[in-house]
């Protein structure tokens, strides 16, 4: 009842014409910065902070949050069309989304991404509304050993991302761990693998590697053939540009998976949506009946990660609003905005500012509907991009990649690294090394090492801390189970062959 009353109050705030307008402005801006690689919500929100002083706090909060979750909608666009991850959380979307585009199903992929975003985004808000305070308490019981187990679970997904050779997938993952280790060690300030370059002191930005090995390598591989003047087929007719009923049916589990995994991992301040998207993709593949077709353009492979990164925003707002704890760059800027407006974010924020909290929640329901209405008609329009001839499109992809990397860090060194990783991605492809495990190792490596070392500090060196805590024990066993999957299938194959002969 209390929640219902709160929600009524919230809609009364969110439906005021001015706030509706700010919500629209926020989600439109969010979509735009999401589409542009490198241009992320934290920078956008920081740029708009001065403007928010002219607005009332509810409207400002509604708009800034709109940028935050709106960007997650836009992030899939370049991933699917150009194999350029628009946001870090959209890297996984490239795996199947771009393959769908290659088969002329770009429209279906974009459409399913928008629908998955809408469903999961709404579930995320539901979670924020219903279980925020109790869930925040649970999240606090999560500490380094649990994070280590979560990262190990993520890393185990490598067996699901492997191509023909498990050894090569594992090697690519280890190379990812190594790249993640470049930079200054947080615990001891030791410089590791920096080759004397100060630019490497804070490590290699994951976006640089992802855009390099996905987008640049893809362009290089496509440049091999001279004849191909058109990048990808685009079917005629509006109907062929949207997902089919069968697509929606195929995604039933992916919608639920993305919504739940994204929200739960989003609540943890030390995890993040990129990790969540890998885990939901792995989960989707593990339970799928057509496991072998993942990575060739299955629609669930788009729905799960795109759902995740939207429900994650709802989850990430839980520790921010209930405890004043930010888990990411974007939530840190939102926290700063609250302080600048004169609020005191912390455990008492929601009870003392119910109108603001409920207004925000209500506006997020409205914003997600706006985003769906906004994004679906854009799908056919975006799909037309692929009609451009190759000699126009390929340079544009290279240009967008450069701009994306440069605008994220302002560093020409990173642009040079981008070119280097583009070559690495091309060579890996030629030698049949899968790229996804490299990215996986890179995303998880740093957090995994930190969590392991923190855990061992907490236990004064005893590894038992990792298995003595129930949540971490469960996740580690799950990770082990996933690692054993290929072994079982191999044993099974041997057995069948033995029976045959």
């Amino acid at each position: 009842m209390e929640i219902l009353a709160g929600l009524m109050q919230g809609f009364a705030v969110a439906l005021q014409p001015a706030n509706l307008l700010w919500c629209l402005v926020g989600v439109v801006l969010g979509t735009v910065v999401g589409i542009m690689p490198g241009l992320g919500p934290p920078a956008t929100i920081a740029m708009l902070l001065p403007l928010t002083f002219l607005m009332n706090p509810a409207g400002a909060m509604i708009m800034l949050a709109g940028i935050y979750y709106g960007a997650k909608y836009g992030g899939s666009t370049t991933s699917i069309l150009l194999n350029v991850p628009g946001e870090s959380a959209s890297v996984v979307t490239c795996l199947d989304g771009y393959q769908m585009a290659r088969q002329g199903r770009a429209g279906a992929a974009l459409g399913i991404a928008a629908i998955a975003s809408f469903i999961a985004g709404t579930v995320g808000v539901l979670g924020l509304m219903l279980v925020a305070p109790p869930l925040a308490k649970v999240a606090l019981s999560f500490s380094s050993p649990e994070y280590f187990a979560l990262m190990a679970l993520g890393l185990a997904m490598v067996v699901l991302l492997a191509g023909r050779s498990m050894v090569k997938a594992l090697l690519a993952m280890l190379a990812g761990l190594w790249i993640a280790g470049i930079g200054t060690d947080l615990f001891s300030t030791t410089s590791r693998f920096t080759f004397g370059r100060m630019e490497l002191l804070s490590g290699v930005d994951f976006v640089v590697v992802a855009i390099g090995v996905f987008a640049i390598a893809e362009v290089l591989a496509n440049m091999e053939a001279r004849e191909e003047t058109r990048l990808l087929p685009v079917p005629k007719g509006l109907r062929n540009l949207l997902p089919t009923v069968q697509d929606l049916k195929d995604c039933r589990f992916a919608f639920a998976n993305g919504s739940v995994v994204g929200f739960l991992i989003g609540v943890l301040p030390g995890a993040g949506s990129t990790i969540a998207s890998f885990i939901s993709y792995g989960l989707e593949k593990a339970v799928s009946r057509r496991r072998e077709r993942f990575g060739t353009g299955v629609v669930e492979g788009v729905a799960a990660p795109e759902g995740v990164n939207n429900s994650e925003t709802g989850g990430a707002l839980v520790p921010l609003l209930t405890l004043g704890i930010p888990g990411s760059g974007t939530t840190a800027v939102l926290l700063a905005a609250l302080v600048l407006w004169g609020f005191k974010p912390g455990p008492l924020f929601i009870p003392e500012n119910p109108a603001l909290f409920w207004g925000l929640v209500a506006s997020m329901y409205i914003g997600n509907v706006m985003l769906l209405i906004l994004n679906l008609p854009l799908v056919p329009a975006f799909a037309q991009v692929l009609r451009a001839p190759a000699f126009v499109l390929y340079p544009v992809i290279l240009g967008i990649s450069i701009v994306g990397v440069y605008s994220a860090s302002g560093s020409l060194f990173d642009v040079a690294l981008l070119a280097a990783f583009g070559l690495l991605g091309y060579v890996m492809r030629k030698l049949d090394y899968p790229a996804a495990p490299l990215i996986l190792g890179l995303v998880l490596g740093g957090a995994m090492e930190r969590a392991l070392r923190q855990s061992l500090m907490m236990s004064e060196g005893s590894l038992s801390i990792l298995v003595a805590r129930p949540i971490s024990a469960v996740m580690l066993s799950l990770a082990l189970l996933i690692l054993l999957i290929p072994l079982f299938t191999k044993v099974n194959a041997w057995r069948l062959r033995a029976l045959d002969s």
């Binding site: 801006l29 615990f187 300030t189 030390g270 926290l335 004169g342 912390g346």
Partner: protein, 324 residues
């Protein structure tokens, strides 16, 4: 987005008129303000808040534009400023890490001493906090427990060169007790580790602590400050609690590229002095529980040396190799 930014500029456009200064130097282009953190980081937020206040108080004829040059602790931002040698329209916001990262990383070649000092702006005090259900009522309780179980109590904090660890090293040296320091990259994770009971103690910014105290989650044992903060009238300072160690503040201020004429430095000193006397500034300090740390360029240069010497000694005590 540009349009909206332009709107924001127009809203403040009135403020650009009627600004006149006696000095010879006047900025002609928008001021590029270099910070070493990404959007949402401490320096970034301070720089943006200052830009806002400078506009509100009409202290500059041009806009201030924050530029994030992240990487290498502060090495990339410092090197970028050094490259802008002689550029009158660029300044940077520094923190203590600009002085410490050249001490620990051979790759960080540009130190604050290679740049032109302008002013010191803010001192951020800190408080020492434990969870409410912890058995320690005073800092002495905590130290006694740490002495009884060497290495078993834990403190969550940032990097090992951060102020959190400096306070720990000083206290350990003073008392002979020993407890572990666990690094977390994000402030949120540090706080979550304390609230979840995974660590025993944390050195925390007063503004961040305030809300958790009000909600009854944490208790403050002592404040790392020379005099009691307005928000914590009943909490003893380190000295009052019986620990005669220097209250190391987190320091923030402004530098300029090398090769800047004296009159430019004087101009900036004047702008920031006016800023620190404004009402917006006082409210900003109050909201964040910061202390006014204004020092002019000459004092700041002396402060560099004191700070660097103290850091070098602390790092040595902590067993960390210094390269310079």
């Amino acid at each position: 987005m540009k349009e909206i930014a332009a709107l924001a500029v127009m809203a403040f456009a009135g403020s650009f008129v009627e600004v006149a200064f006696a000095q010879g130097f006047q900025p002609t282009r928008p001021i590029e303000v270099v910070v070493h953190t990404g959007p949402g980081g401490g320096s970034d937020l301070l720089a943006r808040a200052v830009a806002l206040m400078v506009e509100k108080e009409k202290l500059l004829p041009v806009r201030m534009q924050v530029v994030n040059k992240t990487g290498g602790g502060a090495a990339v931002a410092a090197a970028y400023l050094a490259e802008k040698k002689g550029d009158p329209n660029t300044i940077g916001f520094f923190t203590g890490v600009w002085l410490t990262s050249p001490l620990t990383s051979a790759e960080a070649r540009v130190s604050l001493k290679d740049l032109t000092p302008v002013v010191r702006l803010v001192l951020e005090p800190a408080v020492i906090a434990v969870k409410t259900d912890a058995p320690y009522k005073t800092l002495a309780d905590f130290v006694a427990a740490a002495r009884q179980h060497p290495g078993q109590l834990k403190q969550s904090g940032g990097s090992i060169t951060s102020r959190d660890n400096v306070v720990r090293q000083l206290l350990q040296k003073h008392t002979g007790a020993r407890w572990a320091f666990i690094s977390f990259p994000g402030g949120g994770e540090r706080m979550a580790a304390l609230l979840g009971g995974h660590v025993n103690m944390m050195v925390i910014e007063p503004a961040e602590a305030g809300e958790h105290i009000r909600a009854g989650n944490i208790r403050v044992l002592a404040q790392v400050s020379d005099r009691r903060l307005s928000g914590f009238p009943d909490v003893p300072t380190l000295k009052e609690a019986g620990f005669d160690v220097p209250a190391v503040p987190q320091v923030r201020g402004v530098v300029a590229p090398p090769g800047i004429p004296k009159e430019n430095v004087a101009y900036w000193e004047d702008v920031f002095l006016k800023l620190t006397r404004s009402n917006s500034w006082r409210k900003f300090l109050d909201d964040n529980q910061f202390e006014d740390g204004y020092q002019n360029a000459a004092e700041l240069a002396r402060f560099y040396d004191e700070f660097t010497d103290r850091m070098r000694e602390i790092l040595k005590d902590a067993g960390i190799k210094t390269v310079r």
